[in-house]
Symmetry: C2
DNA sequence: ATAGTTATTGCAAAAACTTGCAATAAGGAT
DNA sequence: ATCCTTATTGCAAGTTTTTGCAATAACTAT
């Protein structure tokens, strides 16, 4: 509850509205320790808000991502997962067991600058998920 | 046709079989200049092979990707697209107009090594799609 | 407080993707 | 050539994700 007001003002400032659905979904993301699938979000948020429907969850996650309140995260199977926006980091996922760790964004900053200068594209920035083999599985 | 034999032997060597479905799908990927969605692949390959079904396309694309004959490519909306495996490159897509260019893999090699040494994960390698704003849209 | 504007939701139906299992057919052995 | 084994496919049904539109409710202005 207490964390809600900052989200409210972020949306208001852009002419959007805060709704109970958005709050429930933000709450679900906020209290998850990892990223969640749309279905996970639906199940959790529905506990707070029984009337919630699935299309709303999909649309809201996309909306929150566009507005910087949630971070979409690519997974290997081509499905998006979401987590609450926070500090900028990326993931490495083990191809074999699925174990997952975070990577500081600073490690990628140099690459992004290089990409910008060689490609002419600007404002390159996205959440990346890399795949590898974790120490335990090696 | 002529390109088929090399694929056949790659599969045989691993105990897999070459089928008309796989050939049609490889053919569709090979003659596309860009990456294709599963549905695109289905539509194109079905012209060669009218009996082809959609589940087969999904399964085959995943299979080809696992075996290095096709390359899955993350897109912004969280859906996988596929292209024929060839030289190792990545993409930058314009957030605004969707224009897309390739990025040499060599640009990322340094990053991958750094990730491996700091994370302990090995064999990090995946096709990356970055998002930015292209020169025309800036 | 109340009314008006319009962003947002729910519903229902469609499209995209997945899964289990029986039938088929590719490739090796005879 | 023919048979056998089993990888692979098609079918049918399920689940997940998307879409259009009418109904709702959040915020603004009065």
């Amino acid at each position: 509850m207490s964390c809600a007001s900052e989200y409210v003002s972020q949306l208001r400032a852009r002419g959007f509205r805060m709704t109970s659905q958005r709050l429930a979904i933000l709450h679900a993301l906020r209290h998850a320790e990892t990223h969640l699938s749309p279905r996970d979000v639906f199940k959790r948020a529905k506990q707070d808000l029984p009337g919630l429907t699935e299309p709303t969850v999909y649309r809201t996650l996309e909306f929150l991502a566009e507005n910087g309140l949630a971070r979409p995260s690519q997974t290997g199977n081509g499905h998006l997962m979401y987590e609450i926006a926070g500090d900028n980091h990326h993931h490495i996922v083990c191809r074999i067991c699925g174990a997952e760790i975070e990577v500081e964004h600073t490690l990628l900053e140099h690459l992004y600058h290089e990409l910008e200068s060689t490609s002419g594209y600007l404002r390159i920035d996205s959440h990346m998920t890399f795949f590898g083999v974790c120490p335990a599985c090696q």
